[in-house]
Symmetry: C2
Subunit: 406 residues, 2 copies
């Protein structure tokens, strides 16, 4: 049988599946406690409220909600985005917004609009694997800039920009997840945010600010997670967020905020990608915002995830052997674990699976396959008792692996 692979394009021939997804498959066995997934807690999905809102909308105007909608989004979808951004100190106008099928689509369109093969994209090192996949597919040069507890390292960022300039490499944008970053759980300090905005102006590049977790700040202090976009006087920042972590990912609804003439480009691209996002899901998002439900729901989500993070942090403290360190997230879904330098998290994975626990290797999130002694563990998906037990198993794994390797 002819496989027609000789007809593939360069991109088509070089597509790569996500390494994380392959590891997931092995971690889905029933006895395994998995800290691998980044899926929101399904127990917290507002199924009843979604059903009621959908029913109400369809009774009222089924003809509208089931029809094609505007490619930039329905008025309700856009109003829902504006509503959520108001909480985050961002004032937005409808013409500055396009609704997308999740922020993954926002990242994809951003890449399409700005990246020619060989252009530079700067990313935090490590960063979101879904963005890395899209960036790689565009044939961009991806350069990871390390982070510390305050976020991206400003000195190294400047050095990297100088180097790119000397080599005549065009830096198009910097991709940032400033709040409870995926995968590290780190939050960029407000001082760093201001510095990054200044540097973007100085070196003339855009910032793609990805903020899926911002509202899930454990202490509820939204000032501490104020986006770069809220201080973006010269429209350098293309801001994206979504309803995936505050309503549900299945509804596939995110948005982009930027200058209207760039929104127009997103709109033209969106028409070619999937015409429009589901108008019913956009109406739903607005219903849940407008009724006040979503604000109280977010408060509840903060409590759930904070409680799980607390349990995970306490268990790490209790069980982990010396030489292991970890981040202390102020929100979101993730903790980043650093093992003693000689331990390779990929090589340890089989031992972990034998102990019935799973994680994602840190190098999967690296722009340059670094971080072999790191891993991401998620507290978003499992119940508290399970988290406690899983961390115990993970600590036993590490001790076991150290004793065998040593």
């Amino acid at each position: 049988m002819n496989a027609y692979t000789d007809l593939f394009s360069f991109v088509g021939a070089n597509l790569q599946g996500s390494e994380i997804r392959r590891l997931f498959a092995t971690s889905m066995q029933p006895d395994i406690i998995s800290f691998a997934g980044g899926l929101p807690d399904p127990g917290s999905f507002p199924a009843q409220e979604v059903a009621e809102a959908v029913n109400k909308l369809l009774q009222q105007r089924g003809d509208l909600y089931l029809q094609y909608g505007p490619s930039s989004g329905t008025r309700e979808g856009i109003d829902a985005a504006i509503h959520r951004m108001k909480n985050r100190s961002i004032h937005a106008e409808p013409a500055q917004i396009i609704m997308t099928s999740g922020s993954q689509q926002a990242i994809d369109i951003m890449t399409m609009i700005f990246i020619d093969p060989g252009d530079v994209i700067l990313v935090e090192e490590p960063t979101f694997v879904g963005a890395l996949g899209t960036f790689r597919n565009s044939q961009a040069r991806i350069i990871g800039v390390p982070m510390d507890e305050q976020g991206i390292d400003i000195t190294i960022l400047k050095q990297t920009l100088q180097n790119a300039k000397q080599e005549n490499h065009r830096v198009k944008f910097l991709y940032l997840i400033p709040n409870f970053q995926n995968p590290t759980g780190l939050t960029m300090s407000q001082e760093r945010r201001v510095s990054v905005l200044q540097i973007a102006k100085e070196y003339d590049f855009m910032i793609l600010e990805d903020d899926p977790y911002g509202e899930l700040v454990f202490n509820g202090d939204l000032n501490s997670v104020r986006p770069l976009k809220a201080q973006d006087a010269e429209d350098r920042v293309i801001y994206t967020s979504s309803f995936s972590k505050i309503i549900s990912p299945g509804i596939r609804l995110g948005w982009v905020l930027t200058a209207p003439h760039i929104i127009e480009r997103f709109d033209m691209a969106k028409q070619m990608l999937d015409v429009c996002s589901n108008p019913l899901m956009q109406g739903l998002a607005w219903e849940l915002c407008n009724s006040g439900f979503l604000d109280s729901h977010v408060t509840q989500l903060r409590r759930i995830y904070k409680s799980r993070a607390d349990v995970m942090l306490a268990a790490l403290q209790r069980y982990m052997p010396e030489g292991v360190s970890w981040t202390k997230p102020a929100g979101g879904f993730f903790i980043w674990l650093t093992l003693p330098r000689q331990i390779n998290a990929l090589e340890m994975l089989n031992t972990a699976l034998a102990h019935n626990v799973a994680y994602v290797i840190g190098s999967a999130f690296s722009a340059n396959s670094a971080g072999e002694n790191t891993m991401r563990i998620s507290f978003c998906h499992e119940q508290e008792e399970i988290i406690e037990k899983g961390v115990y198993r993970l600590a036993e794994t590490i001790k076991d692996f150290i004793s065998r390797e040593g």
Copy 2:
């Protein structure tokens, strides 16, 4: 204010909005009867059945339907696609299918996987404007092959392939809408389908078969619209269809059927584009299939659209001046009108709007901006009385324009 346009990619800088969409804007004034849109009849959307199914699914497993789903589709979505294809003489296995956010996304991924800049895509002349936009964006060479009443012209197709061969241009695929084509309403004869499959083998290219309207065959004879895919012994055909025209476009649900190793490529691309399609909408599609509702609904849709087509054809017969000819569709949404050669449909558009009627100029659907004396008129969206009145106005427009021009 810096507009950052110097940071755009080649693709980003050259994106173009759809000409049709711009014309739509002018045709949306309340007094105008618009034959421009290709939107399904909103009165026929099964809002009640959708509400009931969604409610049932959310009661049962809200945790699943609101979560991320597999990027290739949920089992229910895939089963719904298999169910619809069975009606169309296609036997399909789950591993041969990926669910997409409408067939527009299928066209986009197909283009990503197969097209490098400069590659040739063959299309029917004229063809679907949404596909043309995606193809243009990929920097493909797009060559239109004329059609007659039996579909694509086989002699010209062969000539085109010979020419491409001589010029060392690589033909990657032929894009076809064999049933009630958008925009012409023409249906490719079964003989032509067989010929095209043979030619694809001979010249070694793929076929992208887009079949959104197939089930809307007025006389219910599904044998007459049997897809090329049903006779595709060597897996040359990548088949796409959707639920947009038989349930509703707003649910954004389509699919692709092809060999499993090509589905894998689609899957990897889909992960980067929007992760997955809405699992709740996939569950909904399966509910409506499995309950038997969709089969009877399609029967009803055939009646509605046939009746509207009949009214439009009768009115054309009654009102149109000599020198105007049109297609007689056996299903779908569209009729193609050819005006006397000296009439430019774009120049006539203002006259039409003054007569309170709108259409889409035929050249918008042309790979090479031909067909200036043609137009697409849709019978899908308006009620019968309105259709009758609109055709009258259109005929008056043409007479008016001829008398002024002549």
